[in-house]
Symmetry: C2
Subunit: 328 residues, 2 copies
Amino acid sequence: MSDVGIKDVAARAGVSPGTVSNVLNRPEKVSPATRERVEAAVRELGFVRHGSASTLRAGHSKTIGLSVIDIGNPFFTDVTAGVEEVASSLGYAVILSNSAGSRAKEERNLLVLAEQRVRGVLITPSDEDPARLDRLRKRGISVVLVDHPAHCPDQCSVAVNDVGGGMTAVRHLMDTGARSIVYVTGPLTIRQCLDRRAGAERAFGRPLRVIEMGAMTPRAGQQAAEKLLAEGDLPDAVFCANDLLALGLMRGLTHAGVRVPDDVALIGYDDIDFAAASAVSLTSIRQPTHQLGRVATELLLDECDNPATHAHQQIMFQPELVVRESTR
Amino acid sequence: MSDVGIKDVAARAGVSPGTVSNVLNRPEKVSPATRERVEAAVRELGFVRHGSASTLRAGHSKTIGLSVIDIGNPFFTDVTAGVEEVASSLGYAVILSNSAGSRAKEERNLLVLAEQRVRGVLITPSDEDPARLDRLRKRGISVVLVDHPAHCPDQCSVAVNDVGGGMTAVRHLMDTGARSIVYVTGPLTIRQCLDRRAGAERAFGRPLRVIEMGAMTPRAGQQAAEKLLAEGDLPDAVFCANDLLALGLMRGLTHAGVRVPDDVALIGYDDIDFAAASAVSLTSIRQPTHQLGRVATELLLDECDNPATHAHQQIMFQPELVVRESTR
DNA sequence: CCGGGCCAGAAAAACGTTTCAAATTTGTCC
DNA sequence: GGACAAATTTGAAACGTTTTTCTGGCCCGG
């Protein structure tokens, strides 16, 4: 049962190994009668193609790599689900690797992917350095950037318009009557945090008061609330760089007797599942995460399968405002 | 740059291909002088081992498969992170597949894993049928069950004691003075929901009032709250089969003017990040998810690397009570 | 000085597929 | 019925490693 090869199938079906291979890879090239005979033999023997041998000889594999920054983050989880969906429907296997924000680990992971001779790589790069990716491309491995706009037009990328999202958020707050707004954010070394601020300030017309936290967690959000309260001067509204911060902040404010949205309106970013579930449901900016993964994968596989006709695309999705109780 | 093989390295270093292979796989077998020369050549040429050729010849790969039921569920996400961590630290690549609860998709994914000749598979099976897994084992692929206790002692498994968790939850509610308790759950076809109820009732001493919802989401929790309120007879406490239900329920109760924990105490299950972040933080039962993934992977790789000395283990983790405001 | 045992490295045979040119069969048309 | 083209099928080489068997030199004891 264990090691039936293509030869065994060939013997059983009374054909040559080459024909079995044809049945497997180009069924249309072989007459219906023999095809059926071979397929029967495959079933009877429980034959499973040896992927490595196939990859070795054919020169390309049926796997793609996915390198994300934080597998624990719901954003990437959703992206991953989209990737897995498309890849598996096309018969591709997805090798997952998590750089955990470490450049060294990312490098190691990319090496593993190169060894596995993946067909292509989907990556949310942990920094701007394009050298590693160029090296992959030199090896014939296609690369698509995920949640990161490409700088040069010679590669594909999918991203979400964070500047636009920031604008939408603040415009909405202003529409509900806010005159003073605070931006609570994670580290301003993160592109997303920066872009969202840029958009927010563009909508606001002038610089925003900013509270920068070291992390983007509920805990950090609660600390931000304390900071805000300590400063004394409560704004009309707060824009948080993600929902985790916003939920923590909401909790902090509520516990201090500040009412949301009556005293302070609040908007988050990402629209995670729990945004709708909190005591006062959270207005947020939704990103098409699942679609991000799907489209990135489609782009990658198109690049792999039709290198001749493939045109590189830099796709930018628009995020969407979801209004709930926290800004009413 | 693209296709430098072991031969090129050998030529460059002035040795035979076999020696290069030895440097790569059993460095101790080759003299320090030549080893260094070969390593230099590897660096200079940017050689990357061709994983498929290696797998083909060596008969085993450096990849493992991970098949989960729902990649979007934070529980599995955490498990996945643990798996990735251990696997990548040992140089293994992880092929991720998502069965999305569909038996057919699980089957397809396992086939892909078999084609890739993964060394072993970590799987949260979508049903009880052991036939598929036996088939894998027949092919020499080790299998470790994740979040599912093994029935037979001839395989490894890691799981969390859901009966114990249910007991802990209800015992805690009773300790805080609850006399009447309702169990809000997802489909009772799910093993976890059943086990938790069993434990809960064992602690309670008699059957619990049960509200069974079709899903385990915040929305379902909110509907459960409506149901509870409609029935009129409010209990002292509610035990929810997971945190998503609990958060939805909390929101539903709060909006109806019922105070948590003053009117009704509330405990969830899973201790997701947001449990601590809600307006009234949620008491919950924490599962060692990350560790679940880590240990499962260690077990699997031990089984692969030391088949002789490996002893199958069925590990059962104990969940842990985390007390917060919703039961004070 | 000689011979046996050892060690480092070499050479060649796999591993299981795919591919491609060549061979064979089938079909078509006069 | 025969010739030619088209459609199938065959057979062997090749993909890049690992592994096993061998070879030649070296060390050491006798």
